[in-house]
């Protein structure tokens, strides 16, 4: 058993040492480039590799227990979701108006600040900690219940699965990563209004409860991240290890699994396309970034390729794991069942990287949010009484705070991958029952996760030119 782990272990170590020359070096302020990131990266990958070892040696019952929540009391059913959703609809309309009529400054207008800082960073991470708050504040379901038909006039064909959601996710990614000015207030107002309308139309035609979880990318990703929350309330409060709830979900169909892998691919590409490495690949001088407008074609191709490659790689890991575990024996899950079930273990990686990647931007932009809340129309008011306040990036200009931030980001990535390793193994235990087959099936995926840790940490440490 242990022998089977030595080969991947050695491969990893060899890779890590070879990697130090080719990778290394870093990002904003130049201070990250001065940190001993090679050492940190090695430690992080070692931690994840160690977790693979630990989970492999752990009795199956322990893993089951880890993912079983504590029941902590009876909860009342939630009321008022329709009203809060209606309030959210009104808020979205108000923000669109502010985007269209308000300040042109993307860092002074509450629409881009809300969408990109409060929602895309703050709320996504919060949802993963607290559970499905989106059910309360999504801007569709309340209005759909209020004015929509009792019975939806059309049926969304089952065979479409979650593919519409994959399409909307890719569309969102293109807008966020490729479009030259996604935070321009007036253009964002048009996009938000159009997207809201299109999704609301879908709710009216097919029913909100059918349409949103299958076609609306934020609903899908937020519900998935909610399954990582340690706390749940439905009939009872329950608290457990992050991710325990994912095991109570039905096995994701292939379209949903592809959604998850694509989500991870988009987040990773978002980090990759700022690096010196990537810029050199596409023929751009990393010291002279030409602006997004000049790179639309290349960034689009890169995004599509990154997502496709990750799907192929993950599929290969699942498939080869099944092959190692000898599919002729029973029980053996089908490829699509294994692909679906194991994709859930990528969720913590996607979330961890999301938090790490946007952490610094959040620390800066949340200050702009405070300023904008105090003076939403940039007319000189000071509603929150902030006084003479300037947004500061002082914490990025000397070594010690930069190091603290970097280690926080790295810690989140490492913890996320360790959780992913545990989740994947638990899924495998449930699929194979036999210990040896479980471990064999996990060899490729565990190696993938250790290498993905290396990749994620490298993205944090490497030089960035955009």
């Amino acid at each position: 058993m242990i022998r089977l782990l030595i080969l991947p272990g050695l491969t990893f170590l060899a890779f890590a040492f070879w990697a130090d020359g080719a990778f290394a070096h870093a990002s904003e302020g130049g201070f990250v480039l001065l940190l001993p990131t090679r050492l940190y990266i090695l430690s992080g990958c070692a931690a994840v590799a160690l977790s693979v070892l630990i989970v492999g040696l752990m009795p199956g019952r322990w893993l089951e227990r880890i993912f079983t929540p504590l029941r902590t009391g009876v909860a009342r059913p939630p009321k008022g979701q329709q009203f809060t959703s209606l309030a959210a609809t009104a808020a979205v309309f108000g923000l669109v108006a502010i985007g269209w009529f308000g300040p042109h400054d993307p860092l002074g207008n509450l629409l881009p600040l809300t969408i990109w800082t409060l929602f895309w960073i703050g709320f996504v991470v919060t949802q993963a900690l607290t559970g499905d708050l989106w059910a309360w504040i999504n801007p569709w379901s309340g209005l759909a219940t209020l004015i929509g038909p009792i019975k939806a006039p059309f049926v969304l064909p089952d065979r479409l699965g979650h593919w519409p959601g994959v399409v909307s996710l890719i569309a969102f990614a293109l807008f966020a990563l490729v479009y030259p000015a996604p935070d321009d207030p007036s253009r964002l107002a048009v996009v938000v209004a159009a997207y809201w309308s299109l999704m609301f139309l879908g709710c009216l035609l097919f029913g909100a409860e059918i349409w949103l979880p299958r076609a609306e990318c934020f609903t899908i990703l937020l519900r998935l991240f909610a399954s990582l929350a340690p706390l749940r309330r439905s009939d009872a409060w329950a608290l457990g290890l992050p991710g325990w709830r994912a095991f109570h979900l039905p096995t994701p169909p292939v379209s949903l699994a592809v959604f998850i892998v694509a989500l991870l691919g988009i987040g990773s590409f978002d980090g990759l396309n700022e690096t010196f490495w990537w810029l050199v690949q596409i023929g751009v001088n990393p010291l002279e970034f030409p602006g997004r407008s000049a790179l639309i074609g290349r960034t689009t191709l890169g995004l599509v390729a990154a997502v496709a490659m990750l799907i192929a790689l993950f599929a290969a890991c699942v498939w080869s794991g099944l092959w190692l575990a000898d599919r002729r024996q029973t029980p053996s899950p089908s490829f699509s069942a294994a692909f679906g079930q194991l994709s859930l273990s990528l969720l913590p990686i996607a979330l961890g990287y999301h938090l790490a990647h946007f952490f610094v931007a959040f620390l800066v932009n949340i200050q702009y949010v405070a300023v904008a809340l105090s003076d939403p129309l940039q007319s000189g008011r000071d509603i929150l009484n902030l006084g003479d306040h300037y947004v500061s990036t002082g914490f990025l200009k000397s070594r010690d705070p930069v190091r603290a931030i970097w280690l926080t980001q790295a810690g989140v990535i490492v913890a996320a991958h360790i959780l992913a390793v545990f989740m994947a193994h638990h899924s495998a235990t449930q699929m194979f029952r036999s210990r040896s087959r479980t471990m064999l099936s996990q060899v490729p995926l565990a190696a993938f996760m250790v290498l993905y840790t290396l990749f994620g940490l490298w993205l944090l440490a490497t030089a960035r030119g955009a």
Binding site: H25, F31, R292, Y390, G394, S398
Partner: protein, 431 residues
């Protein structure tokens, strides 16, 4: 977007100094949602501020924004321009040349700005200035690039508030030759920016009787430099480096490790260390090295009253950091350019008796007629000499030495040190 009333006729406003209401002062930062009545004689002067709010220039954009707001507040407090308040209409260009051209277009057509100003990054200036020329919009850039004076742009584009890199580099040679050494090795990134330094400095040091022993061109994607240092000739007395980007701290650290205590003199440009806290732990290897500064970041022993007042207005302390956060070091070597440019716009508009967009060419001619500008609160960085033919200003350059974690002024060049032959005469071009 609210449309402004365009039906106002142009009346003479000479001598019509009106009392400015609170709304007039507040208009200093209004981006297009004008709240006050469009009274003929107090209609604001609308200045389009093309700012790098996002993108790779955002760190500079933040400070350009602050110095601009401070300059406008002061101008309005003093009565505005020709009795009219100044209103800044800011638009983000994302540090993207194509968006820059769109922003210039918006200023001219949608926002009805009188002039546009504020662009920093060279490639954005290149992408935007042609459009300003086509739209006949006076375009005051604050960029340091040599592109204005090289003749590559147009008669509508001017750079009167900040000196250009050619004059900066050239002016370093006398001090380097007289105080640091005559045998120089140059280390620069292998693209246009580095080539400019290579070309300008080599010519200038040779004029001082020095020579460049080696030109070490480093690929822009490089992030580790130790392998290049053995190329430095043994007789090198001074290393002149202009590494930029995130790897600059690594560069200086590795160079310090390579030489140990027996290093040659080291001379660099503050550009990549703008906004880096010199006193940060881990930067000890900078100690003893020299830097060009556009404007001395630390208040010096002979600090002028103008510098003192300017710092107070922008909200910067004696270490060049934000008064609200002593760790938030400013881009002190560049942001004065916005302050000074706006004061020049004021002077130009007053000299031209600027009433409205019909007077744009008169404004440009008035600025072209300017030459010597004394050291004052309008020009806190130092005296300037503007060349109306090349549309480029010339001024004092500063050389500082890192001493105990601060930059201490070691030398101030004369303006003559910075001059070079005219390469264009925009005044012969038609508008």
């Amino acid at each position: 977007m609210t449309k402004r009333d365009t039906s106002r006729p142009s009346l003479s406003r000479r001598g019509a100094l009106k009392t400015l209401g609170a709304t007039g002062l507040a208009a200093a930062a209004l981006p297009g949602l004008s709240g006050f009545a469009q009274a003929q004689s107090s209609a604001p002067i609308r200045i389009g501020f093309q700012v790098h709010r996002t993108g790779i220039g955002a760190a500079y954009g933040r400070w350009y924004d602050r110095s601009t707001a401070a300059a406008v507040a002061r101008i309005n407090e003093m009565g505005g321009i020709n009795g009219r308040p100044v209103e800044i209409v800011a638009e983000d260009d994302g540090t993207d040349p194509k968006r820059g051209a769109e922003v210039v277009e918006k200023f001219a057509t949608q926002h009805e700005c009188d002039i546009a100003f504020g662009t920093l990054f060279s490639h954005v200036v290149f992408g935007s200035a042609p459009r300003a020329g086509e739209l006949k919009m006076p375009y005051f850039v604050v960029s340091e690039g040599h592109h204005v004076a090289s003749g590559a742009l147009n008669r509508y584009t001017l750079q009167p508030g900040i000196t250009d890199v050619k004059s900066q580099v050239q002016a370093m040679a006398p001090f380097v030759a007289d105080n640091l050494g005559k045998k120089v090795t140059m280390i620069f990134p292998d693209f246009a920016f580095g080539h400019d330094h290579r070309d300008y400095f080599t010519a200038a040091i040779e004029a001082q009787g020095g020579e460049v022993l080696a030109h070490i061109a480093i690929p822009p994607s490089e992030t580790s430099f130790t392998k290049y240092f053995p190329q430095i000739p043994r007789e090198t007395e001074v290393i002149y480096h202009v590494m930029v980007g995130p790897a600059v701290l690594t560069f200086v650290k590795e160079m310090g490790e390579f030489f140990g205590p027996n290093s040659p003199e080291i001379f660099g440009f503050i550009d990549s260390l703008e906004a880096v806290d010199m006193a940060s732990p881990g930067l000890e290897f900078l100690e003893g090295s020299y830097f060009w500064e556009g404007n001395p970041r630390y208040a010096q022993a002979n600090q002028s009253d103008h510098d003192k007042a300017y710092r107070a207005a922008v909200g910067v302390d004696d270490n060049g950091a934000s008064v609200s956060d002593p760790k938030d070091v400013s881009t002190y070597s560049h942001m004065f350019g916005c302050w000074e440019t706006l004061n020049i716009v004021k002077a130009g508009m007053e000299a031209a008796d600027y009433q409205g967009p019909d007077d744009r060419t008169k404004l440009i001619e008035a600025v072209e007629a300017m030459s010597d500008m004394p050291h004052s609160l309008d020009h806190p960085q130092g005296a300037k000499r503007f060349n109306g033919k090349t549309h480029q200003t010339f001024g004092h350059q500063y050389i500082s030495k890192v001493t105990d974690g601060k930059l201490v002024l070691a030398h101030t060049t004369s303006i003559e040190d910075t001059l070079y032959e005219d390469e264009v005469d925009y005044t012969t071009q038609a508008f």
